[in-house]
């Protein structure tokens, strides 16, 4: 059901892990749909993403899209990273089965969430970046209920 690229990124995920004191970190997804992605970004003073790491709870496609998303944003400027859409992630993976498209949306959302955190920490506004709706808080609230 998965392309070779998806399987490759699932079996050998790039950039798994955490960044200590990250410039930005964002967690998206919720337990209900079974996918949670956390992305860490290290952004230098010139606004270049030096490093990207992730942790993901989810299916094969969720792991592969997280892995690909980190690869695609590494070395990019913030504005360039905003261009890494779910479509870009899917294309880079040679496609996803229809039921897994939401994983690529989540990957895009994870990038945005990490950038949003970076912007908030630095008290700046990133042109074209909306506050991610799908964040970990929803999940935590759900758990408490």
């Amino acid at each position: 059901m998965y392309s070779e690229k998806v399987m490759d990124h699932f079996n050998n995920p790039r950039n798994v892990g955490e960044i200590e004191n990250p410039s930005g970190v964002g967690t998206v997804g919720n337990a209900k749909c079974g996918d949670i992605m956390r992305m860490y970004l290290d952004i230098d003073d010139n606004g270049i993403i030096r490093e990207a790491k992730f942790k993901t709870f989810g299916c094969g496609a969720a792991v592969a899209t997280s892995s690909m998303a980190t690869e695609l944003v590494k070395g990019k400027t913030i504005q360039e990273a905003l261009q890494v859409t779910n479509k870009a992630v899917m294309e880079a993976l040679d496609g996803l089965p229809p039921v897994k498209v939401h994983c690529s949306l989540l990957a895009e959302e994870a990038i945005h969430a990490a950038l949003w955190d970076y912007a908030e920490k630095n008290n700046i506004k990133i042109e074209g970046l909306q506050k991610p709706v799908n964040d970990i808080e929803e999940r935590l609230e759900e758990e408490e209920q």
């Binding site: 337990a31 209900k32 079974g34 956390r38 993901t56 709870f57």
Partner: protein, 390 residues
């Protein structure tokens, strides 16, 4: 390859296959034909029917061959609903039935029937008090599975049958996972209708049975010819039926021996997994469970990833995971036993056969330990958990 998905389907054993073989190229006659060439095929079907009946203490003429478990479930429920619609339109089932039952009930709801879905306890056992309370004067059918296909819990069929009898309500049971694996007696259990499927007990796919107690008046489901005493039309699937009968006969002879072997291996597997992999739970009743079923939830990880990695190690397993079925919701059975979504997502079902060995189980447990550790190391939920513990 290590095959641990025997609840999904089983291998046709050589012993069964040998008995099926003549009915393709040589004894190909339509069993319903009048000429003597058809005689051998018809007597083979009769023999199979007898074997299918004896396994559950039924009379030979109470067995009807169908195309499988789903057809039998559909037939039993829809036909019982239709024939009794003047008496009432209320059906009782449980929240953990197979979709062949649940979706049929939902279909009937759209046709104006009312369905009560009785809850189960944390081990997946149907709540008898709730079931009895659900009975109304217009209740026409109780349909509860003999044993659950995901978590393996065996239901109190004797009690449910007695309850149905006491209130004069038809009782159907989906015995697809139980038939040939645990003892069933349709008389002791007051079962009026029972569905079973051949491929769950080493017979081929595409053949099943419906047991209908003598005197239970339900209509045909497949209309056409006069086969199966005019209750199920369609040319008899001679080879499939012969396979079913052969498998049923072997299952009857070896039921106790196989169940004992499987239970030992199952309990060994369960013990190792629970002892050696932290934050793991066994789902389903520890004792009242199918001899071949082990079902776990591993916290902080997701089932599909686990299955892919097991597959890469040559291990065939299944999960009940949302992803594999194309829906985002985790298993309705796991939610029904009260598991939260994120735990229900990390499920694994391993279903054994007598052909599995202890070495295979050991290999599987070792791989499972590695895979679960690897997936946890990349799980944000595990990361949060560890930080909270520190």
């Amino acid at each position: 390859m290590i095959y641990l998905d025997n609840a999904a389907t089983t291998r046709v054993t050589e012993e069964v296959f040998e008995q099926i073989k003549p009915y393709f190229c040589e004894q190909y006659a339509n069993p319903s034909a009048i000429y003597s060439f058809a005689g051998k095929a018809m007597s083979a079907v009769d023999e199979a029917r007898k074997n299918a009946a004896e396994l559950i203490g039924a009379e030979t003429n109470e067995i009807y061959f169908t195309a499988g478990g789903s057809e039998s479930d559909n037939w039993a429920i829809k036909a019982a609903a239709e024939i009794n619609k003047d008496k009432g339109k209320h059906i009782i089932t449980s929240t953990i039935e197979h979709h062949a039952v649940l979706h049929t009930c939902q279909y009937l709801e759209k046709q104006g029937y009312e369905v009560t879905y009785v809850n189960v306890d944390e081990n997946g056992v149907v709540r008898l008090d709730e079931l009895e309370k659900a009975i109304r004067p217009d209740t026409i059918l109780i349909t509860i599975m003999t044993a659950n296909n995901e978590i393996g819990t065996i239901q109190p069929i004797v009690e449910i049958g007695a309850l149905a009898k006491k209130h004069g309500i038809l009782f159907h049971t989906d015995a697809v996972q139980a038939y040939g694996h645990i003892p069933i007696d349709v008389n002791e259990m007051n079962i009026d209708m029972l569905s079973a499927s051949g491929h769950k007990l080493n017979a081929p796919k595409g053949v099943g049975i419906m047991y209908i107690r003598k005197g239970v008046r339900i209509g045909s489901f497949i209309h056409g010819g006069a086969q199966e005493r005019s209750r199920r039309a369609g040319t008899l699937n001679t080879a499939g039926i012969v396979g079913f009968g052969a498998a049923a006969k072997i299952a009857k002879e070896k039921l106790e021996e196989n169940a004992k072997k499987e239970t030992e291996l199952r309990d060994y597997l369960i013990k190792r997994v629970i002892d050696e992999i932290p934050y793991t739970r066994l789902n389903g009743d520890a004792v009242k469970r199918l001899p071949n079923n082990a079902h776990f939830c591993f916290r902080f990880i997701e089932g599909e990833s686990l299955l892919i990695l097991l597959d890469q190690n040559g291990i065939c397993a299944s999960s009940g995971s949302a992803c594999t079925s194309g829906s985002l919701d985790p298993s309705h059975v796991l939610l029904a036993i009260g598991l939260p979504h994120e735990i229900a997502h990390g499920s694994l079902r391993l279903t054994l056969s007598v052909e599995n060995t202890k070495d295979e189980i050991d290999f599987t447990v070792e791989k499972l330990k590695e895979i679960v550790a690897r997936l946890r190391s990349m799980s944000p939920l595990y990361e949060d958990f560890v930080k909270k513990q520190a």
